[in-house]
């Protein structure tokens, strides 16, 4: 069985993002970029499934600029077997990514497609679900545990108020939540081996996908600065204050 793992190059989770002065988006010039943390979890889970002898090949895929090759090399250094970059400098929305992934899945015929539940830059949380719909295949989102059981995959999902267990017939789409696993760091020998692994570069046009955005961003702004609080002398003053604010 093959596992397809899409990975996205995003602003590093340690970086405090700054909005561009014209409000058109987040300033990414000279900012540290890394693999989306949820995708790292997906890569790790795929490697664990392979190490357990339940998968033969892990293919990492990214849609993005040439620099996304670095992200794919990270996936290869962790343990993915080969990689595909669908190179584009344009903004690619989740629907377009899902269409490209469907086209790759049609070629590669993976038994499992493992994605991060969302990317930490735009927080869309859509690609996995759209992909499942386009492919007409079952989905197990927000995975807390993943277990391969013959031709099925059992996914424990993180839902409001607890965990829900679903059994999906493969091929299936699984999106990973934070608590699924703790990703490994690449070892030096694996970094060196990753250099020799295959990395194919394609374009959206190769898959006949139109990536033109369907949405227009009108404005991006910083979150409002938290206002300073106010100190009150005693409980009575507090109650009076709350009443004045219309809260109590």
């Amino acid at each position: 069985m093959k596992i397809l793992v899409p990975v996205k190059r995003v602003i590093d989770y340690n970086v405090k993002p700054r909005v561009k002065a014209d409000g058109s988006g987040v300033d990414l010039a000279n900012v540290k970029m890394s693999m989306n943390p949820f995708d790292e979890i997906a890569v790790e889970e795929a490697i664990r499934i392979k190490e357990a002898g339940k998968a033969d090949e892990i293919i990492a895929v990214s849609v993005g600029p040439a620099k996304a090759q670095e992200t794919l090399r990270t996936a290869l250094a962790m343990g993915a077997d080969r990689a595909i970059l669908v190179e584009t400098d344009d903004t690619v929305e989740p629907l377009a990514v899902a269409k490209i992934l469907k086209a790759i899945a049609d070629e590669e015929q993976p038994g499992l497609i493992m994605l991060g539940k969302q990317a930490i830059d735009d927080d869309s949380n859509q690609t996995g679900q759209m992909l499942a719909a386009l492919m007409g295949r079952p989905q197990g989102t927000f995975a807390n545990t993943v277990e391969i059981d013959g031709g099925s995959v059992i996914v424990k999902r993180e839902i409001d108020g607890g965990l829900e267990t679903v059994k999906l017939t493969m091929p299936a789409i699984v999106t990973t939540d934070l608590r699924l696993n703790e990703p490994r760091y690449a070892s030096l020998p694996n970094i060196m081996k990753a250099k020799k692994k295959q990395l194919d570069v394609k374009s959206p046009a190769d898959f006949g996908v139109d990536t033109a955005p369907r949405l227009t961003t009108t404005n991006v702004s910083e979150p409002p600065v938290r206002q300073a609080g106010e100190k009150v002398a005693d409980v009575d003053a507090m109650v009076a204050k709350l009443k004045a604010l219309g809260i109590a």
Binding site: E70, T74, Y185, A186, S187, L188, N190, I191, M192, K195
Partner: protein, 386 residues
């Protein structure tokens, strides 16, 4: 893939590993003067300490410039490579001058982590930088050598299985030249300690560096532990010392980066008189100056590593890299404490610990004065001053 991308990936992986060893870990180790064995194990398991070992012996076959990046990134992440750096630079002496049999016997086991090569026995109580006057002697006795003497500042001796030992095998008056008569041995410390020929006494120091005194009392070692030819040890060890200086210079650059990053972040955040202290030129200029000083040192370190990797005598470059980088890291350490003010002295900010650790490198493994003497005499042709 370019060399540059390699390095980016190595940096990323070292950072990820180091994230598992945060400030609390190092503070606890520092308080207890405890060897960071878990950190060294993690580095070993991830293959970083075997970076210089050729692929056929289980390593990654990288050059010194990549090893330098690994050491730099460890320090820049707030960890302390001092617990493990010797494995990198001692390795080079074994790689360059060890016999095929010695390499085949030891390198794969060092690469796998089964054997730790962390101890380098050179300095003695009566001979520091004047290495040629060392008094530890090794006398041939049949198939063995018998070693008597003492070493000091042998760091990590209690946490190493092997030691690279420099000892006199020909008395100075009988040696062909002043620089001959010393030999290098790869000593199996476990055997030597079990047999009672070697004893180790820890020295408590200002920082957690696991340094010791080592005593040899009729220590019997097999003649097969001799590296290269008898009497040529001083020459062999010189190239190892250049590697050591370059790697330690890289660590200093990493330290400087850590101090500068900490100071800049604190100066942006800390508000006094209703504005961030970093808005004051009196605070921001020293940080900016340290940054420029660090970048200049960083260039020299890469230049020195490249010169070493080309195989010639990189003495000039290695010495200058160590000089500039150790001064850059110490300037950044001092600046960082000043920027933090009182908080710089509080343990939980890690600044005071890194400050104590950074102080070492204008002294060890060679003091700044001796580097200046080297440059004056060997590069500028000035009269020898000592």
């Amino acid at each position: 893939m370019t060399e540059n991308e390699d390095v980016t990936e190595i940096r990323r992986a070292v950072r990820a590993l180091c994230e598992e060893f945060p400030g609390e870990y190092w503070r606890a180790k520092d308080r207890a003067r405890d060897y960071p064995a878990e950190f060294v194990d993690a580095l070993t398991k991830a293959g970083f300490l075997a970076a210089l070992i050729p692929e056929e012996f289980g390593g990654s076959g990288l050059k010194l410039d990549a090893a330098a990046v690994i050491m730099e990134e460890i320090q820049a992440s707030g960890c302390n490579g001092g617990a493990a750096h010797a494995q990198m630079y001692i390795m080079n002496t074994l790689l360059r001058y060890g016999s095929d049999a010695q390499k085949a016997e030891y390198l794969p086991r060092i690469a796998s982590g089964e054997l730790r090569l962390q101890a380098f026995g050179v300095s003695e109580p009566a001979s520091g930088t004047d290495t040629l006057s060392l008094r530890t002697v090794a006398v041939r006795d049949g198939d063995d050598y018998i070693v008597n003497g003492q070493k000091i500042w042998t760091s990590r001796a209690e946490h190493s299985d092997l030691m690279l030992l420099l000892a006199r095998t020909t008395p100075p008056e009988e040696a062909a030249s002043k620089t001959e008569g010393l030999s290098i041995f790869l000593v199996d410390m476990r055997e030597a300690r079990d047999a009672g020929g070697m004893s180790i006494k820890p020295i408590r120091t200002m920082m957690n560096h696991s340094t010791t005194e080592v005593f040899f009392d009729a220590m019997r070692i097999p003649a097969s532990s001799l590296i290269g030819e008898e009497g040529k040890g001083f020459r062999y060890i010189l190239s190892g010392m250049n590697a050591e200086r370059i790697l330690i210079a890289a660590e200093c650059v990493g330290d400087a980066k850590w101090f500068i990053e900490k100071a800049a972040a604190y100066a942006k955040d800390r508000t006094v008189f209703a504005r961030p202290i970093g808005q004051n030129q009196g605070v921001q200029f020293p940080i900016a100056r340290c940054y420029a000083q660090m970048r200049a040192a960083e260039l020299m370190v890469h230049h020195a590593a490249a010169a070493y990797d080309q195989g010639g005598n990189a003495g000039e470059e290695a010495n200058m890299a160590k000089l500039l980088a150790s001064e850059a890291s110490w300037a950044a350490a001092d600046m960082c404490v000043q920027t933090f003010g009182g908080f710089g002295f509080a343990e939980e900010y890690d600044v005071e610990r890194k400050f104590r650790e950074a102080r070492l490198y204008t002294v060890a493994p060679i003091s700044t004065n001796l580097i200046l003497s080297y440059l004056a005499e060997h590069v500028l042709g000035l009269p020898r001053s000592y």
